[in-house]
């Protein structure tokens, strides 16, 4: 299970800012992801219209989620698959393990999936005698290091090439010392060689799903490496773990959303593989699993459906919000302290693990709005972050010092005459204290500001005081 370190966001971020490797690796996010997305969006004149239509599809689904889920279940069953309903992480893990035990599974290959991170599946399987094998290159690296993903589509984005090369040398002991591992290509070939054998030996393949199509009962994964296909085709059993909001009504709807997904995520027009799985192998099929299971996970989604965070359920996990977030760019994904980082994570995490354990996350944002401006599903992320802040304020989770300061300020702000007398005096004092230097390097109670920057001194009398004096002169 991913340990929750969100309450230590401040310490996490301070550590992250001092981590030379992390800072070097995060340059990649700042440049590559953003430029590629911008190019892909600009190359498609109807991109913004597509975003609106993608949003409308998902809003429609959320309005009728019960109906579509039932329709989807019926289709999966009709195709010979099994649908399992899981209310929470514990139930979902239990169902996966049951299926594994029934076929006496020793190993399970895995396609890249954030939902299995959410339910802490790997540790759980490991403890129960089933070895999980991550097959996405990024996830494979993360697993070698005993870490968790720091980005929802680029799990190892926090690492430099040098770090990855060292990990490979440590883990792949058969490698001759002079075998070059300087290019991503050489790392990929090495991982592929190791994984090939494991694909063939795995008893169970576990994937997430980008979409579940109600019309056909298909699960859809969108990938670039092809490992997802081998994960779901080669073993006897394919288990799909997906949260309930992944439903779309039709294949046409799915293909519309796919058009904004890859463009927003990696700047590709489409991912290399868009793979549909519909039930187990049929008579005459050349390949495919003998059993096909879908675990539909709620884990807090149905609550969100009925509250102010409903818009978040439109999320298609492209990662554009975190790529464009100045906070994420600065501190990386691990600082957020749980599975989902960045703006989408700061909205989703409190809904999944509780705001009392993740109180920092909605506050650790400048609300600059760049996330919303690139979100393919037009999720109003700053507004949702603010809603969490409102809940914190209502539940008295806001730090007492902040509440106190805010209380005094608000008292004055609601009394203009008092406010103007107070500020008139204070600004005059500050001006005097600045001694004509125009700025402070340090000031009591302003340590948060002056730790890293100078504070400019007031010019002197407030605008309101000067304006009043001017009006008085005119009326004389």
């Amino acid at each position: 299970m991913v340990e929750i370190t969100s309450p230590a966001f401040k310490d996490n971020s301070t550590g992250a800012l001092a981590d030379v490797n992390l800072q070097k690796a995060m340059r990649h996010v700042r440049v590559n992801f953003i430029e590629k997305r911008a190019k892909a969006a600009a190359a498609l004149p109807e991109f913004d219209d597509l975003r609106s239509s993608a949003r409308a599809i998902k809003d429609h689904v959320l309005d009728h989620l019960d109906l579509y889920l039932e329709a989807y279940e019926a289709k999966v069953t009709e195709r010979g698959g099994h649908v399992h309903w899981a209310a929470n992480a514990i139930e979902a893990r239990g169902i996966v393990l049951d299926i594994c035990r029934k076929v006496n599974a020793k190993t399970a290959t895995k396609g890249k999936s954030m939902i299995t991170e959410e339910i802490g599946l790997n540790d759980f399987l490991e403890k129960n005698g089933v070895t999980p094998i991550e097959t996405d290159l990024g996830e494979y690296i993360i697993q070698l290091r005993g870490e968790h993903p720091s980005h929802i589509i680029a799990p190892a984005v926090h690492l430099t090439m040098d770090q990855v090369r060292e990990d490979f040398r440590k883990a792949h002991k058969h490698l001759p010392a002079d075998r070059p591992l300087n290019e991503p290509q050489s790392l990929l070939l090495e991982a592929r060689g190791i994984l090939r054998d494991r694909f063939l030996k795995a008893d169970v393949g576990i994937t997430g799903a980008n979409f579940l199509v109600a019309e056909t009962g298909s699960s859809v994964i969108v990938t670039n490496e092809g490992n997802g296909d081998l994960t779901q085709i080669l073993p006897k059993v394919h288990i799909v773990v997906a949260s309930i909001e992944k439903i779309v009504p039709t294949l046409e709807d799915m293909s519309q959303i796919v058009r904004v997904l890859a463009r927003s995520a990696t700047g590709q027009e489409m991912s290399v593989y868009t793979t549909l799985s519909t039930g187990p192998r049929r008579k005459g099929d050349p390949d495919g699993p003998e059993q096909y299971h879908v675990i539909l996970l709620d884990n807090g989604r149905s609550t969100m459906l009925g509250n102010e965070f409903r818009d978040m359920l439109r999320c298609i996990r492209c990662g554009a919000c975190m790529n464009h977030c100045p906070v994420y760019q600065s501190v990386g994904g691990h600082a957020y302290g749980w599975v989902y980082p960045g703006p989408m994570g700061s909205v989703l995490t409190p809904a999944l693990i509780g705001i009392e354990k993740s109180a920092h996350l909605p506050n650790a944002s400048t609300l600059c709005g760049r996330c919303e401006s690139v979100c393919p599903m037009q999720i109003p992320l700053p507004k949702l972050l603010r809603h969490w802040r409102e809940r914190e304020f209502e539940q008295h989770l806001t730090p007492a010092s902040v509440r106190f300061g805010l209380g005094i300020w608000a008292y004055a702000a609601k009394r203009p005459a008092l406010y103007q007398r107070m500020t008139g005096f204070t600004m005059g004092m500050l001006r005097f204290l600045s001694g004509g230097r125009g700025r402070f390097r340090w000031l009591p109670l302003a340590g948060g500001w002056t730790k890293h920057r100078d504070l400019s001194a007031p010019q002197g009398r407030t605008f309101m005081a000067q304006w009043k004096a001017k009006q008085a002169r005119i009326s004389k």
Binding site: K10, S13, E390, G438
Partner: protein, 255 residues
């Protein structure tokens, strides 16, 4: 004189930072509005737009402050603020605070239609495409987040700046990227904010400009504070000062 069209009455929302720290921006705003043919008034019953409360989750205080502002600015043809952030609050967020109070909600919506940020008001509403000011400087312009993304302010300030004699604009890399101010964010998370503003000042310094301009004093105080701490020579001013030709006051943070 009788044939002259009646001047529109503008209520100036000064913004708390301009009121307290840099009144000269307020007077530059008045000058620009008067040049644009407006009659300017400053209602006394104003303090702050309420964002510190609103963005801290304190809806009750935000709502009371919003009510005070809406009532104070009743009767003006326009409400103008020299800040994209405060104008964005008044225009895009006030009405929603009264969602459960239909009568006042209607009033809040009508109010929001009259609210404008200064530069976009001059350009889009008053049709001002050039100013008569002159100022010798190589400047770089930062797009403040709320102005850019809530109000669509991007070309207006650049077009008006281009008309200032002596000004050349050197665009920084990523002028649309947040400076790390974020209201109370910068004091709640000083280290993260510092990392973000450090990126920003690096982009500013790389332009070779000698003056940084923006339309929001919060962002400007953050960026200029960092520039000063780093020992950079780049000065900072609110764009209204340059557009109004009122640059006799020392730049932000200068003695």
């Amino acid at each position: 004189m009788k044939t002259e069209k009646k001047k529109p009455r503008v209520g100036l929302f000064v913004t708390c930072l301009v009121d307290l720290f840099r009144p000269s921006v307020g007077f530059a705003t008045v000058e620009l509005l008067e040049q644009a043919g407006c009659e300017v008034d400053v209602p006394f019953a104003q303090t702050c737009c309420g964002q510190p409360a609103y963005n801290s989750g304190d809806r009750k205080d935000a709502r009371e402050i919003a009510r005070q502002v809406i009532e104070a600015f009743e009767g003006y043809d326009y409400v103008v603020a020299p800040s994209g952030s405060c104008a964005g609050m008044l225009k895009k967020h006030y009405a929603e605070l009264f969602a459960d109070e239909p009568a006042f909600h209607k009033r809040a919506v009508a109010f929001s239609m009259r609210v404008h940020e200064l530069v976009s008001f001059l350009h889009d509403v008053r049709g001002i495409k050039e100013v008569s000011a002159s100022f010798d400087a190589k400047v770089t312009y930062h797009d403040s987040c709320s102005g850019l993304r809530e109000l669509g302010i991007q070309n207006q300030p650049r077009q008006l700046l281009a008309s200032v004699k002596g000004v050349t604009l050197a665009e920084m890399k990523g002028p649309d990227i947040c400076c790390g101010f974020g209201g109370t964010f910068c004091v709640k998370y000083p280290d993260v904010s510092n990392a973000i503003v450090g990126e920003k000042t690096a982009s500013i310094n790389a332009t070779g400009a000698d003056l940084l301009l923006a339309g929001d004093l919060g962002c400007l105080m953050n960026m200029s504070g960092k520039l000063k701490r780093e020992g950079s020579k780049v000065k900072a001013r609110h764009i209204a000062e340059v557009l109004a030709g009122m640059t006799s006051e020392p730049a932000i943070g200068e003695g």
